[in-house]
Subunit: 457 residues, 2 copies
Amino acid sequence: MSVEAFLDANYTAALEDLKAFCRIPSISTDPAYAEGIKAAARFVADRLTRAGFSGVELLETGGHPAVFGEIASDPSLPTFLVYGHYDVQPPDPLDKWKTAPFEPDERDGRLYARGVSDDKGPLLIPILVAEAFMREEGRLPVNLKVLIEGEEESGSPHFEPILEKYREKLRCDLVLSADGAMWRPDRPSITVASRGLVALDVTVTGAAKDLHSGRHGGSAPNPIAALAALLASMHGPDGRVNVDGFLDGTSPPDPRIVAAIEAADFDSDAYYREIGVPGAAPIGTGRELLIRQWLEPTLEFNGISGGYQGRGTKTVIPNSASVKITCRLIAGQKPDAVVAAITRHLEKRLPKGFALEVHRHGPGSEADFIDPDLPALKVSEDVLGELLGQKPLRVAMGATIPIGSAFRRHLGCASIFFSFSTADEDYHAPNEFFRLENFRLGMKAWTMLLRRLAETS
Amino acid sequence: MSVEAFLDANYTAALEDLKAFCRIPSISTDPAYAEGIKAAARFVADRLTRAGFSGVELLETGGHPAVFGEIASDPSLPTFLVYGHYDVQPPDPLDKWKTAPFEPDERDGRLYARGVSDDKGPLLIPILVAEAFMREEGRLPVNLKVLIEGEEESGSPHFEPILEKYREKLRCDLVLSADGAMWRPDRPSITVASRGLVALDVTVTGAAKDLHSGRHGGSAPNPIAALAALLASMHGPDGRVNVDGFLDGTSPPDPRIVAAIEAADFDSDAYYREIGVPGAAPIGTGRELLIRQWLEPTLEFNGISGGYQGRGTKTVIPNSASVKITCRLIAGQKPDAVVAAITRHLEKRLPKGFALEVHRHGPGSEADFIDPDLPALKVSEDVLGELLGQKPLRVAMGATIPIGSAFRRHLGCASIFFSFSTADEDYHAPNEFFRLENFRLGMKAWTMLLRRLAETS
């Protein structure tokens, strides 16, 4: 029987495996679910062993363990590392679920359960495919390692220590991520870039303590007014960042991604309706909107506070006011240089009577992007294009994908996101689901991918 | 014996009265001190009776009672109502006091105790003076009523109901307030104007809920940015309010007050040092500073909030951001018109993609000011000028004096502030004190004042 035929013949059993996996409440953020985490790690380890992986073990560095396994076929073949995570988001609010989050329910060609789309369904696919190869061909066309972590939904606090500690064991030529959703259900896509991140707090201080706004109003410096003026100076009228030096080191966006954006025919009105923005669309065309979201850096205010925030009114001129800022960075921007440019901008504009403090959170991260000429990227695109009859879009991601840059830093290799969940599958919300047609499609695609990667290398 | 000689001869007893009064912990904001409040009201009532007042009673409207008493001399003479308050601020922080707040301590010509300057010392003075007149002359030169409330330090929530309910009993030609400190210890002053107040909250809303700043950053509307831009548009580069229609109805400031400001030779550097403002003085001259503080309206931001305000960082584009605003109003400004002008200003500038909500707190109050030609004002100035050898300054007050406008609205009469505490006596801070020379001076001044008011009317 062919690998494809094996997968077809065993589809019902595969779906039962997925349901069994989804019954395990592996919520990593809540210590009450420690048993669920352990059970899910065991489930993955057992499933890897059953599939024919060897060296299956739990990699420990103090948090929830990551599960490792490998199938070494031939040292002359390239080695790929499959990434995924077995932990899931909390299911709250529970009363919004139509069926219980940990009792998988199949309806209308979808499987509903917490974690089914993010990331239990997608990560199970390459394991099932590897099993089919082993059963039918006795070997894989490439060397395959698998690393399934258990803390993705709680910020992966032990992920980099794992990469550090097990660097030799994890060494590979390329990471194939089974996590990271496709952008839209109606168009195949491959994510080729994600933005970096740097975070800071800015505090403006006036008088030594809060003052009475009657006695001192009009004469004492008001830090909310000063902060507001500073913040207002940081964007131009079109909403773009207006800070000298902010864009230093950047180049114009990859024309292939711009072409993909043009091909995507994105509807900006629909976007603003979906996120519930009142009135007319602030950015009128989908092209412009996606360029902003994917290919331009941002400087967003995440929180602001100062003075009295309770009910009613208090006649106070506050001593200080603060804002939290995060910047999403594009290729070429260095976190250090960005923080320095912002600090210079603020210092230069600080009015008389105030002190300024800029506090940076952590080192930040640069943007991550795949070499557009990477052969494996073309292979992935070909596979998706042939299976779906439509060339996939090369998309960028506004968000920061920490694993991409972590793998690049620790293992020195790129990551290709080859996932079969879709961004609309409510994976951090009630009634998470996974399209079962994509479960089948994913198995076909991973089968083709592993074969083609062997041919290309 | 003359009234003056009686006061001199009985000074020690008067000081003992003041100490006894200060031993009563009459904190109105803290229900734990209900007994202290009751005891202080009784103390005032007893002292009025002992001084020769009749009709002494506690006026009740549900809160802490106000104490009333009167000495009716002759229906053809004018009637004055003395205002004061027997409640005090909480003494916290206790560890900052050199001696216990409710154990009055005399040192360096000052009496230290919570409430001694605000307002127990100043309010006792006219009672002692009335007693001296009654003992030595058997009558007062005018008709005198006294109203001492018990909720001033907790916002006088029942004061207007008292004026409403007891309007007939309280009817008078002029209020003489024993509350309201003199501006500076080295220059006598009379407060002739205070600013009005109107308060509002402004909320800017973007998307229907908080959004991920990675996925949506650059495309979704950020309400903190929009609010900051709106706030930055409300003041000009010199810090003055820059809102069309805000000044409608106002006239240039009273030249007598401007002259007083010029005579005051106020030191703006010292002011900024005192309130602990870093760097150079934002307003370089004392004249300009006092004009801003006393004679110009303000639009101050009292509090701002939106998005994530906890520790660390959260990559969110918040759904909304809010600011609390209070405006101090000068003569001619109407609270309704001011709120309408601000609302128009904001609506006109609101960028696409946001909704705006303006919520007003209460009706607000107009500025209060004394007719500059009121004969009693000149009498008060003459008394202070003769006693101190220096013509008092006519000063305005940046703050709002609710009792001034309350008496004007309910009793239809002006209030003259004739107090002998000074603004530097730490009356809302630890180690509150009262200058005993002003205790004596106040008795002389009230004696002269009552005599002169009889002659002038």
